[in-house]
Each structure stands twice: as C-alpha cells, then as structure tokens.
Amino acid sequence: MSSNPYLPRLAEVLEVKEESPEVKTLKLKLKEGRMKFKAGQFLELTVFGVGEAPFTFSSSPFNLESFEVSIAKVGSVTGAAHRLKRGELVGVRGPFGNGFPLEEYKGRDLLIVGGGIGIAPLRSLLYALVAERSEYGELKLLYGARSPSLIIYKDEWEKFMEKDVEVYLTVDVGDETWRCGPYGPCGYTHVGVVTTLFDLVKLNPEKCVAFVCGPPIMIKFTVQRLLQLGFPASRIYLSLERMMKCGLGKCGHCNIEGYYVCKDGPVFPFEMLKDIPHPF
C-alpha cells in the first residue's frame, strides 16, 4: 500500500484536564512511534465519528513521550473532543506547519503576547524557551483573557516565573477572584485588553523579537502597538488561523492571498503580510 497522508495515526488519551469552563487540555500518546514537533507547529485531530480539526501543540517539544493540545469548545469536533475520556482513541496527523523560528533568535530578548486560546502555542513556546533558558535574554509574557475564569494554565505561571520569565496577566473584565490570584508580578490585578499591558513593561525593540497569537482583533492592535514601539515588521511573528482541511497545501482552504497557512505558516513574520489588504 502506498502511504496515505490523509490517514491519521492512532493516539490514546492519557489525561483530560479542565483548564477553564471553555478549554480542556488533552494529553495524548501515539500508539506507535513518537511525535516529534517544534513549538508553533500543529496537528490535525480526529474524533472518530465526528471529524477532524487543527490544533497547535501546547506542550513542550522536548517531551517525546506524550504531547498536549488545549482545545476551546466552539463547535462539533471541539465539542466532541471535550467529551473524550481517558483511554479513548483519537486520530492524529502531523506535525504540520513551520513553527517558531527559535534558532534564529538565540541570545535575544523575547516578548510573547497571547490572547484567549491563542496562549496554547505560546505555552509550547515558553516550555521550549525555559528548557534552554540561558540561551535567551529577557523573556516577557503578556497574556489576556476575557475573564479570570478563562485564564488557563493557572498553576503553571508561577513555575515560569521561577524560570525567570516575566509574566503579566490581564482580563477584560475582573471579579473578586482576580484580586487574590497570585499570577504575575503586577498583572494579577490588571484589568484591560492585552495591549494595555504594554504600559507595564519595559521593552528594547532593538534587541527584542515578538511572538503573537490570539484572536484577529487582538493581533491587529498588538501589531499596531509593536510597530509604534519601533519593532521592525521582520521581528514581529504572528501565529495565524485559517479554515483548514488537508494540512498538506492541497485543499486550498487555508490560503491568505498566495500563502498556505498550513505550509507557509501558521507562523508568519508580519513583514510577509504587511502589504496584504486584510491579513487577520
């Protein structure tokens, strides 16, 4: 039999973790072989009987035993993924896409900006960075969600801070829990959209590289802010989403003008997109 790139490999659900009322993290392990991926790459997850959808790896690329995806419930496949139980089998294809270009930026300061479920690939990125912490300069994370209960990976932020990552969290609308949360040096009482966190951090755009993932509107305003601060378009990286089907550069669904997000992305330097009418 010739090989079939549409055929998923089987993986077992090792663990299901409820991160928030909207998001669950699935820990998966391939039945055969290992999943080798780079931070920023994605996979196609099949829930048998329902369908397939793309998700970025949210776990450390250095962990070859298992891998994780964090899934926000928005429709049929994501809904079915939320109903999965430990021990069940799913299908996975991938890894697909390019991932974050980390090799190019050793020694640099890194600014990571995430909004909503867009934090999933950035968590994988953070794990990749802290695993080689001494290779990088200052690491700063700005992360916002709509409300405190939607902030995910709650028990992990302090661990990142211990690894010398500056963590700043914010919510669009706060509540009483937000006041006592131990998340971030000053961000834990911060209320406002992600871009308001820029007022709290000192950045050196000369040395710094930005990685951004989140909903289109958040990406738009974050890019504007970064450009204003003096970040060159070539050092602003965006992880983008588009409708995807094949993941192979064949079905045409994920294109942005002449690019295929599944092959040329999902991570793009803003430089590549700046002349496009509506990139986000």
């Binding site: 329902v50 369908g51 928005v74 064949k250 079905c251 045409g252 002449g258 509506h278």
Partner: protein, 323 residues
C-alpha cells in the same frame, strides 16, 4: 475508435444535445456518430483524477479499538480521448499541487494508470486564449498518444512507453507517416496558433498591482454558482468531511469552490473572505499571480471554459486585461 473501445473504457467528447458543445461521456456504439473531435469538450478532464467525491479512509469502532483502512483503486484500462494541449497542461498543474510531497495517493494512482490520447486543436473556440498564457494549441508533452488531423486521417505520435505499446497493439489502425504529412501537420499547427494568437492584441495585466475595487464590476454580475470553478481544469480545491453509520465511518474528499461563502468561514462565524468581491479577487489572483509565485507558472491554461459557462457573462480575459 470503436476497435479501441473494445479494449478500453473510452471516454471522449460526445455531442449530447445537437448544437451544444460536446461533453465527456463513455464512447459506445450508440453514441459513436456523435463523437466530436474538432471542438474541445466543455467538461474538464480533471474529474477522472479528482472525482467529485472520494473516500480517503474508513474506520470501524469497537470497544477500545479503532480499525482503519483504505484502498487506493487502480483504474483499469481507462482511456481518455480528446485532451487538448491546455488539458494536458492543466493536469501538469494539478500534479504540482496533488503530487507535491506528501503526494495524494488516490490522485497519483489515476495519473499513473489512465491513458491520455490528445489532439491538435483544429477549431479553437472563440473563448480560447491558451497562447496568451504561454501555451501552443497543440500538445508537446504529457500525452501517451497524440493525434493530429491531416488530410484523410490522423497522424499518431506516441509520447510515452504506454503510447508506443498502444501504437503497436493497434498497428493496423495507424499507418506510418510520410514526409509530406509531417509538413502538413506543422502548417496546420502554425495556422491554428496564429488564429488564436491574433485574436489578442493586449498583454496580460499584472493583477497583483490592481486594487480590490478593480474586481467590483465582475462581482456585480457573479451569481455565485461556481460554474467557472467546476469547469476549470486547474481548480483543485476540495473539502474533507466525515460520515458515520453506527460503528462504521469514513472520511471523504469532496469537490469545493473558493467562491462559496463558507469556504473560509470558521467556527463562531468568523469569515476572512466574507465578501464575494474578496473571493472573486482571490480566484483571479490565484490563476495569474499566486499560482505563479508558488509553482512558477500561471494557474490558468486559457481553455476558455469558464467564459462559456458563466451566466453572468464574466470573462476572465477581460479581468486579465486581454480584451
């Protein structure tokens, strides 16, 4: 041809409705007299390689196990007749997409096993503009066998090992050619080339340099039927969806169109190409700008099929600045 059809499933351009352009059908005794080899068929040949619907794999769910299976079918003795230079070129362009690693095994098996018998164009359609996208109206490569109409019959030329075999197998059908016949072929080819070429005087417009509003006059007339996409021999986009009946299920690859409103709409209703203008622009740019950026050639072969089927009388040649 009937002799061939005894050995092969032979698909050819057949006039189904008198006065209308031929469409592709299986050739048999009943429709043999309606075989039309002068005019290119309105149906593209791509569906024999990318069928409207095809199974990618099946699965069976049982307690704690999932059994996956798939079958790459090999078409047996299928011969497509009547492809033109543009049709062969279109398959080459589909190859660039579908055979790019990791190759689509379903497409690949069809490409490897279906025999292609092409023709020199003798009566180009008024909508043909192959010469303007760098093609000649006669095949130069990509065929198993090419037939060139000359006085009193056809000159046959093999373009592959399988074509050679075909020639040998049906030796008595194909007489050897003489010097004069080859000359006649060149003359005819040149005349048809000039006929198409001379219909156009303006160069292709660089669509990467025009604004979005440029496409509005076409968008106004588009009824979103996707007739252009489905008759286009190079449009390759597809959808993937699952079906399930109890413990059995599978995944299908089905025909799709970038002009459909939902083509890029994602969960929660976000739609990066919500306007018809943005979708039509994407399609035109894909043909003349993006495909070239990616694969080094235009994504359009100038066959003119879309011009003929569009109920809104949208003419891709006008959009591309040729007329």
């Amino acid at each position: 041809m009937l002799t061939l059809s005894k050995h092969y499933t032979l698909v050819a351009p057949i006039v189904e409705t008198p006065g209308k352009p031929p469409i592709l059908s299986q050739l048999n005794h009943a429709n043999f007299n309606r075989l039309e080899l002068k005019i290119r068929p309105l149906t593209p040949y791509k569906f024999f390689f990318q069928p409207p619907s095809e199974e990618l794999f099946t699965y069976k769910l049982a307690e704690g196990v999932v059994e996956l299976g798939y079958e790459v079918k090999k078409p047996e003795n299928l011969l497509l007749l009547g492809l033109r230079s543009c049709d062969l070129k279109a398959l080459e362009k589909l190859d660039m997409v579908m055979l790019e690693e990791p190759a689509d095994p379903f497409y690949k098996s069809k490409r490897e096993n279906i025999l292609l018998v092409s023709l020199d164009c003798s009566e180009p359609s008024p909508s043909c503009f192959c010469t303007e996208v760098g093609l000649k109206p006669y095949p130069e490569e990509g065929y198993d066998l090419n037939l060139s109409r000359i006085e009193g019959g056809y000159l046959a030329e093999a373009g592959s090992g399988k074509g050679e075999e075909l020639l040998k197998q049906f030796e008595d059908l194909f007489a050897g050619e003489s010097e004069g016949q080859l000359e006649q072929r060149s003359e005819r080819r040149e005349a048809v080339y000039r006929k198409v070429k001379e219909a156009y005087t303006k160069p292709l417009k660089d669509l990467s340099k025009v604004g979005e509003e440029y496409f509005m006059e076409f968008t106004k007339r588009c009824v979103e039927c996707s007739g252009c996409v489905f008759t286009c021999p190079t449009c390759h986009c597809f959808y993937i969806s699952d079906y399930r009946q109890r413990e059995l299920g599978g995944r299908l690859k089905t025909i799709d169109s970038c002009l459909f409103e939902g083509f890029q709409r994602v969960a929660a209703g976000v739609n990066p190409r919500a306007t018809l203008n943005s979708r039509l622009r994407q399609r035109f740019l894909k043909k003349f700008v993006y495909f070239k950026q990616r694969y080094g050639e235009y994504g359009c072969v100038g066959c003119g099929r879309c011009v003929e089927v569009c109920p809104g009388e949208i003419d891709i040649r006008e959009a591309a600045g040729l007329i």
